[in-house]
Symmetry: C2
Subunit: 193 residues, 2 copies
């Protein structure tokens, strides 16, 4: 049941986890199911958790002061769905995480998560690499948002995430790319696909 997670962690390590480390993971991550449209996390929730997606798909989004939603991230199989800011603080979340499909995750609460760090250095290594990759990706996304037109961002999205294009609605992709759904529709009309 925990195999996908153990495999994912080991892929980022030079040498695989030992049995004690693997047990620390399997003891602390519990399988949980979410139905489509169910919330894994809602803005204002104070309990924070970290969820590894085994199957299905989630979107992480914020609501701005005008009530508009902004999709920050899509989490599919073998990805993590969390509000990192609230996981590491005791403050209520600013983000929402909603299942876009019936999904299954391996989930850990903040307290148990800290136990991993405190007892096994290997998790500092794994999550360091993950955070670095996430930061590098966020930097690149920021560059694209400053230097690409809406059309270029959409073309880049299709090339980068072809498996998400027919899995996630256009309106949600538009929000992820920082444009309105109406404008994305017009882009699609002009340029094939």
């Amino acid at each position: 049941m925990h195999a996908p997670l153990l495999k994912h962690i080991n892929q980022f390590l030079l040498k695989p986890m030992d049995p004690a480390e693997e047990k620390a993971v399997t003891d602390r991550f519990a399988l949980k199911a979410y139905r489509k449209r169910q919330y894994l996390l809602q803005a204002g929730d104070s309990s924070s958790k970290n969820s590894f997606v085994v199957s299905g798909c989630f979107r992480v989004y914020v609501v701005d002061t005008n009530g508009k939603e902004h999709n920050l991230q899509f989490a599919v199989e073998n990805g993590w769905a969390l509000d990192m800011g609230s996981l590491y603080k005791e403050e209520p979340s600013e983000m929402n995480i909603e299942a876009l499909e019936d999904s299954a995750v391996l989930q850990i609460e903040r307290k148990a998560f800290y136990e991993l760090y405190d007892n096994f250095p290997v998790f500092d290594r794994y999550f360091r690499i993950l955070a670095e990759n996430a930061y590098i990706a966020a930097q690149k996304r920021l560059i694209r948002s400053h230097s690409f037109t809406a059309e270029e961002r959409y073309a880049d999205f299709i090339a980068r995430y072809p498996h998400l294009v027919n899995r996630i609605s256009d309106a949600k992709i538009a929000s992820f790319l920082g444009m309105t759904p109406e404008f994305l529709s017009k882009l699609r009309r002009n340029f094939g696909k």
Copy 2:
């Protein structure tokens, strides 16, 4: 000489480094001076390093396919100046890092940097927390870039980084915020400085 760096690392740890860990740092980080306009890193460089800013100021930027520069980050005292993407790969850098003032850094090469990780788990912890904070900040910046107008982004910058406003030229701030210098000038005209 290494005091600012040791202090910075310890600030992010629950318990301070022991003498062996501190020695590992002082042995591997060398002080280096940069003159204003000197490059710490240029796009295309393959040698990669990580630099902790002791004094002065750097900008990290990329050049897009139209030849336009995009400032990604300003690094001042007690901050890090690096291209994380190229530090962890053997590939040439896509970023440029230029001193905006006469500056001093504590610098480490990739190879010695890996030695730290391989011998002392505490650095996985420290750089994990740093990468997580950087990612959280990058996410928030992306949200602002999608939900704020240029004027709101500038007001937010002033509130967030008051110490940088009179230290970094408007044109470079404009690039950081994803707008043209001309437009920033017009914003400043309308809304008191």
